[in-house]
Amino acid sequence: MRPSDMLRFDLQVLNRHRFRTLMLLFAMSIGVAAVNVLTGLGEGAKQFVLGEFSMLGKNTLIMMPGKKETRGGMPPITGESPREITLADADALTRLPGVIRVAPLIVGVTQVSFDGLNREVTVSGTSRTFFDIQQLAIRQGKSLPDLPSDMATPVAVLGSKLKAEIFGQKPALGMWLKAGGYRFRVIGIAEAKGQALGVDLNDVMIIPVASAQALFNQEGLFRVMIEAQSEEILPATQARLEKLMQQRHEGEEDVTVITQDSVLSAFNDILNTLTLAVAGIGAISLLVAGVLIMNVTLISVTQRTQEIGLLKAIGASDHDVLTLFLTESCLLASMGAFLGLIISQSLLFIGRTLFPDLGFQTPLWAMLLSVTVALLTALMFAWRPAKRASAMEPISALQSKN
């Protein structure tokens, strides 16, 4: 048989058994769509998380209070909270060899009002070095003043989005904002930038760290960012840093130091596993579709026993019959896979529209894999029924009562 004739013949069969065809297409497309949507979601989440953490420079260390234990064991009976990281600790770090800059960080949320407008605002208390480490440029005005870290000054730099929401098109520089019980003068507007450490830098008010300590009535630092000279000395710097902190805290190891790379690679591993796991779940639905194809092909072979007998009587060989049934299921599988791709891509498109931050996008490997697996399962599962059809004796097939 010519391929085009075979195709037409199979399409006539599929068209004739429209309900069956639709059900199978449905099953197949759901399987393929599941794989694509799930990996797309996984990939979106991964890109989001990685993007979040790669805002830090490669040479940056982050220190936070408390020791994150990775080994087991009983929690301390006393249950006392870890010692806080103080401004003096942060200042001491500056003197370590290999350290270029240190930026202390206190984060909190407070009510900010201007001209009768009230708004909840995330406030970051830090120092001038924060802008260098975050590579956050000043669009207008100036950065925080270069003062001793324990000196509070009532000045603030606003994120671009925050500025637009409070002041609109009006000039903001020199205006006084009320935050908590304090007043701050706007001295600068930052350039638009993405998120960092879960804080949207566009929607943040940056004030000197000592002012934030007063504003939130909090002594301890939330984070300390440390920029080292180069990526190579990062491990050595980290070790020195931990040692110094231990000395300063009476021998207690009560801080955690992380690097961007360690965080990124940990997340990358976790998220890749997650993506594979969800892809596996999707693959199960593909398998289910494959079993369905097997059953339906079996039924089809039984229903069309007479037709098979006839085809053989008028000169179709075993091979012809086998190919006829295999192409039929492959045709179904590829149509289903195509449909599944359309469904999954439209769903992901909707997802991207609703959540522009998350880059929901099926990776190419998942698309190719799902289509290949769809075709392979169809072939694999249709093989036995098709083989059975091809091995039928023409007369007994012709005489069958079905």
Binding site: R2, F9, K312, A313, I314, G315, S317, D318, I395
Partner: protein, 233 residues
Amino acid sequence: MIRLDGIHRTFFMGEQQVHALDNIQLTIAAGEYISVMGPSGSGKSTLLNVLGLLDKPDSGNYALEGVETTTLSERERAGYRREHIGFVFQSYHLIGRLSARENIELPLILASMPPAQRRPIVDDTLQRLGLWKRAEHLPNQLSGGQRQRVAIGRAIIMKPQLLLADEPTGNLDTQSGADVIEVLEALNQDGITLLVVTHDPALGKRARRRIRMVDGRIDQDKIDTKEALRATQ
């Protein structure tokens, strides 16, 4: 054209062994018109299936146009069925989703003939069988006689030398039965070897050579000399 020599074919019906063909010796010349009659279970359908290469004898030799068929592979047998043998069945065996034209076209498709070449051949056959106006109809839109003519069209589209008909009028009323027989006999006149298996004595008598089977053996093989003489004159 056909030479059967010592053909045996045995079936098992449960425990019972049925000797459907018992040492059959038969020679058929090209262009003959043969009827095979006999009671049910006498092996006449089995004989037809063996002749049509649908069934394989357990032992014996079957030469079709000088070629020994018992040693052919399945694929070669399919090829012989396609090129040299046409079948007409009692229950037509048309494919329901295909139109009359497509049913007739099927053997050409199986033979991988390009569409442009198929068209005139199918048109010609449709016209010859008086099915031109019914070409695009599905089998369930056709009468029994028309369906059997479609089946005949499919059987002869490859211009086979041998046409095997198993109770071709069994499902038809007298008038359509007579029409179908007329078509078959006209084909025989044009040179095709026609073998009809039937229960109907009236139909059986029309053949010049009449074979009667009983218990898997050829009980009687009569050539109508009057008919034969007239044919040779």
